[in-house]
């Protein structure tokens, strides 16, 4: 059985059975462009609207993951899924045709880690067998909901991030094979007083620091214990803040740290300012790249700390701040 220690969970038997990612055109032109399972060149993927397209991205990601494991919908017991849109539109509309029991989750851009740790917990506890975690984000639908109309000539500031058009799906089961989900630390909501809509990285760095540090303390590890510590979408600004925060404790995180927001795009050539963001950003990087390397043993042990800015445009307009959250999932080869 699983052991609970402090606020970190340990998993005895939960592995990632299969995983898949689907990305848009700009993402496919990034440095990891050829590692994703499918590229949907058209922004709307042949559907009528960007919101429908986001649903399609999730649908395709889950379908690819199920196909890889030769699973039918009947053999898939449960889905945890979420996205950035109001009412988790992408998930509820995109996954409805699978007829698989569904639990919608919201953790902003940290949703994929939230889904993984929940799926792992359900599988480990024996409630379900094959359990999927799916998330997506879409630049155009996010922009419409959170910022300005797409063809408006508003200026993006250098700290702004580019929402990834991408989706990732992973199916967790008791396979006894890597990649294993070993432990997870659930994040606390940290309101650091940041209220700049164009600086999400800064809003989330505090939460990432808190969760990663707690995970180190609970598990008795340090950055050197991991091959990589992967954060979700802190971007340029958030990553530097994270290093600074750890420096105060005399810990050097920089050497082991990678940020999906900084990896997904070629920041020299693509105009994404501080980096990528969105649920789909870290989901696609995990499912497209990192899990592959844990599965074949290139990476022995990684800590995946997805970060989310729990931002409500309404609250920000009312003068509120942007609280951040980060969930950490430890994934290993052994």
């Amino acid at each position: 059985m699983a052991i609970r220690e402090g606020k970190t969970f340990y998993y005895e038997n939960a592995s990632i059975l299969s995983y898949a990612s689907v990305v848009g055109k700009i993402e496919s032109e990034g440095p990891y462009g050829d590692e994703f399972d499918e590229v949907i060149e058209d922004n709307k993927g042949g559907t009528q609207t960007f919101e429908q397209a986001e649903g399609l991205f999730q649908q395709k990601a889950l379908k690819h993951a199920m196909d890889k494991a030769n699973l039918t919908a009947d053999e898939t017991d449960l889905i945890f899924a979420g996205d950035l849109l109001n009412q988790c539109t992408g998930s509820s509309y995109g996954l409805k045709d699978f007829y698989i029991p569904f639990l919608g989750i919201f953790g902003a851009c940290s949703t994929f880690a939230e889904g993984l740790l929940l799926a792992g917990a359900m599988v480990n506890a024996g409630y379900t067998d094959n359990t999927a975690a799916v998330t997506s984000s879409h630049f155009s639908s996010a922009e419409r909901q959170f910022r300005f109309p797409l063809n408006y000539g508003g200026v993006r500031t250098p700290t702004a991030q580019w929402t990834a058009t991408a989706a990732g799906a992973a199916i967790v089961a008791k396979t006894g094979k890597p990649p294993f989900i070993r432990a997870a630390t659930v994040g606390k909501i940290e309101d650091m007083g940041i209220n700049d809509l164009n600086n999400m990285g800064a809003a989330m760095a505090g939460a990432a620091y808190d969760t990663i540090l707690r995970h180190f303390r609970h598990t008795g590890t340090s950055p050197e214990s991991y091959d990589l510590i992967i954060t979700g979408d802190l971007g340029q600004v958030g990553s530097e803040m994270l290093y600074e925060l750890f420096k105060r404790d005399g810990i050097n995180l920089e050497s082991r740290h990678k940020d999906c927001g900084l990896l997904l795009y070629d920041r020299e050539k693509q105009d994404v300012h501080a980096g990528g963001s969105g649920c789909g950003c870290s989901a696609a990087m995990m499912c497209g790249h990192f899990l592959k390397h844990v599965e074949n043993g290139d990476l022995k042990r990684i800590l995946y700390a997805a970060t989310g800015a729990l931002m409500s445009p309404t609250m920000v307009q009312q003068g509120g701040n942007i609280p951040g959250i980060s969930h950490a999932v430890e994934i290993s080869y052994k």
Partner: protein, 169 residues
């Protein structure tokens, strides 16, 4: 100070809670400011100047052309605005205006073309939500305040102007 910060400060003070994010929101905000890259003002301001100035020169040229065609000064000015608005909306429809704006910054925001773009872009964007509640209702989500405060300011000015005239007469 918000609740989250207060909670953190209290715990730091009482030295309890073992693992706690030991930084105040103020210090954190300063850290955020320090690592955030500044706007490349050496590039953005000249670009805004040049592109904004160019749009104004186009306006001046149109003004002269319409004047030469025999229009009154006021009508030539109105027709110039109309032409610039048309061009801006055409470029917005062709998905070019926001591309230019990424380089021009305020250079495409401040001229009347920026106003036209702010009317056209939500209309185009919200077309998918229907012609009435989407396109029609959302057309002024950005430009609305311009009309609201512009017209209100002019009404206030009108009243003051009327009062001044009344007293000076």
């Amino acid at each position: 100070m918000n609740y989250s910060d207060k909670f953190r400060q209290n715990n730091i003070k009482k030295k309890k809670g073992g693992i706690i994010l030991n930084i105040s929101n103020q210090e954190y905000g300063e850290l955020a400011k320090r690592v955030s890259p500044p706007s490349a003002m050496a590039k953005t301001i000249p670009m805004a100047f040049v592109i904004g100035g160019t749009i104004c020169v186009i306006g001046e040229a149109l003004l002269n052309i319409y004047g030469a065609l025999g229009l009154s000064r006021d009508n030539a000015a109105a027709l110039t605005s109309l032409s610039l608005i048309f061009l801006s909306i055409l470029l917005t429809g062709l998905k070019l205006y926001d591309r230019i704006a990424q380089i021009a910054g305020a250079g495409t925001l401040v001229p009347i073309t920026g106003f036209a773009n702010s009317v056209c872009s939500p209309a185009l964007d919200f077309k998918t939500e229907g012609y009435v509640l989407g396109l029609g209702a959302k057309m002024f989500v950005i430009a609305g305040p311009v009309i609201v405060y512009g017209v209100s300011a002019s009404v206030i000015y009108g009243i003051i102007y009327y009062c001044i005239k009344l007293f000076s007469a």
